[in-house]
Amino acid sequence: MTIKLAPAKSRQPGPFAEIARAFTGLRREETLAGYLFLLPNFVGFVVFMLFPICFAFYIMLTEWSLSKPPEFIGLENFEVMLEDRLFWKSLSNSVYYTVVAVPTGIFIAFWLALALNRKMRGIIFFRTIYFLPQVTLTVAAATIWRWMYQPNVGLINYILGLFGIEGPNWIHHTAWAMPAVIIMSNWQGIGSAMLILLAGLQGIPEEYYEAASIDGANGWQRMRFVTLPMLSPAIFFVVVTSLIGAFQSFDQFLVLTNGGPADATTPLTLYIYNSAFKFLKMGYGAALAAVLFVIILIITIVQWQLARRWVFGFEDN
């Protein structure tokens, strides 16, 4: 048995007529049907996103151990934060991670995209290989990287040893633990950045390169004056999303180092989780989350402001 829906009536021209008709006759039913179809997603958004976000802004002004009702304490959580050594430590860890991981990740992704933006046999295979870590579960990947980072029998120190380099005790040393997390994160994360940049590269018209060549531009000049400007919107997108993602990184820290040793790899996100769910300071955790939100917001706004200077066609859009 096939159920066939009756066809909708033809649309009426004009925006005001559309609005007027939206709540009359058959259009009202169409509108209602539209809302009904939207409803499951909307309810999910409200329950699991909008409400928690709004609620977090409330509980950051409270002391709440989950086991009794929140008690309003105003801005006390933020006062405590100023003198909290772990807050500053975790914030500096997040900044360290972001400042190192994002540029190196984008740099590698860019050169990978360039390398894979050519017509040759098996190129799809290589693109898939480089994207595979992206679809690997972080927990599984981090577990394998823990083995690879083993100081005596790990793969990484073995390879370093082939070059006469004595590898460090990666995840058990305060100076090396963060680089270890960054390497693993970049291994896993460059796939998506590479894909976006590759799509950007493939969108650059060939004629631009031909014109540049006719004008006598060499390879570097074509890169400098054609590729980079034309790719700048894609780079901008990757920079914005990577910075946000870096500040929000959590699972690789949890599984690879659990914040150790001696808090050397505790980022703000892990400290938020610990404060809220291990130390039962939900209000303080929410206040930390609010700080993280503000940091990400400011950085993103600054990036949008700076984008006018270097992103091709940004003003037009």
Binding site: M1, T2, I3, K4, L5, A6, L26, E29, E30, L32, A33, L36, S65, L66, S67, K68, R85, L86, Q150, P151, N152, V153, G154, N169, H172, H173, T174, G260, P261, A262, D263, N274, F277, K278, F279, L280, K281
Partner: protein
Amino acid sequence: MTRKINMSRRDFLRISGIGSLAAGTTVIPGLGAVMAQDDQEVTIMFWDGPPLIGIREKALAPFDDAYPGCTLNFTSVPGGPASGYNDKLFTSLAAGIPPDVFIIEIGLLPQFLADDLLLDLKPYVDADNYDLSNFPDLAIEAYTHEGGIYGMPDNVASIAIFYNQDMFEEAGAMMPTAQWDDEGWTVDDFFSSCEKLTKREGNRTTQYACDVTGWDKVWQTWVRIFGGQLVDDPFFPTECTLNEPGAVEGLQFYADLRWEHGFAPRPEALAEMGTGALMQTGRLGMFYSGSWAFPNYRESDFSIALGHYPSGPGGRANYVYYYPLVIPKTTQVPECAWNLLKFFNGPAMETIIREGGLQGTSFAEQEKWFITDPLPPANKHVMLDAARHFVAPDPVLTNFGEITQIMQAQIDLLMIGEERDAKVVCDEIVRQVNPLIKEGQWRSG
């Protein structure tokens, strides 16, 4: 044969609505039927994974028959408190629907008492003349607040030194004593045994004497052996005393076993082969663990036994777990929950101990079932004696979990060898922890 039906959107919406209504009315009478039953469902929640989860469930299965009118709902979130159990527990508490009986870490008890979350069991204990004398006094004291009793032990378990008897005999080293009041087996004897057990070939250590772990229960025990304490008064703490001479000396001695004397494997060696693997392969003489490690050594090709920690300037010490099972104040089935606690500490405990699940709660049961188990390791009475004589209370603070994490981060530096001076570490701990102790005090002495 297919038949096409032309349906307007209005018809579609009507049919959808009627369908939803029909589905809803089908479910609701079903719920009603469940609620109409006379049995009271009592939910208990643990944090065990296999094999303990199965052992507990099997042991508690006869509860329904023992207490007609009560129906057990057993649940467990495997992996211990940090692996999702606490998240689930706290979320259910916030929602006002916690399990009727659940286990908590002893460090959380002050917070729960301060928040007035738990049911006072004293009226039930009195009404049933329930004998608490068989449990460690300190455990019951820890569960007691302003005359009320707010928990019953889940397991009274101590830590012991597991040692390879064959290796000790071969090296001619003194073995850890199995007698709790033995005047021998001092820290000097321990050190001497470590010297004899450790074997080196050039720069490479082929056999380690002991383990040095960052496990807080172990380093805290070494602090006590040398006469130190975490805080001035565990029941009414006002300041951290970890930078006092005994505590510093104990930590320094413990860390030096690895970094100064090379008796214990370094982190890089442990990353290659964990403590258990080193022990199983005959490359480690002794390590610390609880009864949960027994199954790993049932079929070892060497003789394994349990011994006490050595005695030092502060005497002999140990850490004894006495995490409580508690009943929330909001439970709708307090009688069934109390009966379940009694059943757990009665008929179920025998099965749990005999199946190899836990050390046990009451001393009588431990004497009867735990220490008489003929399977390896030998000297199981060491754990019972430790539970009798060496219980040391955790500081009663509402934020002890947070304090532990801060202490642990600094201790890590000592354990991984980035800081070799225990005094530096202890001073930093005291500096960071003292303000938190003030914050976590919730009752005055």
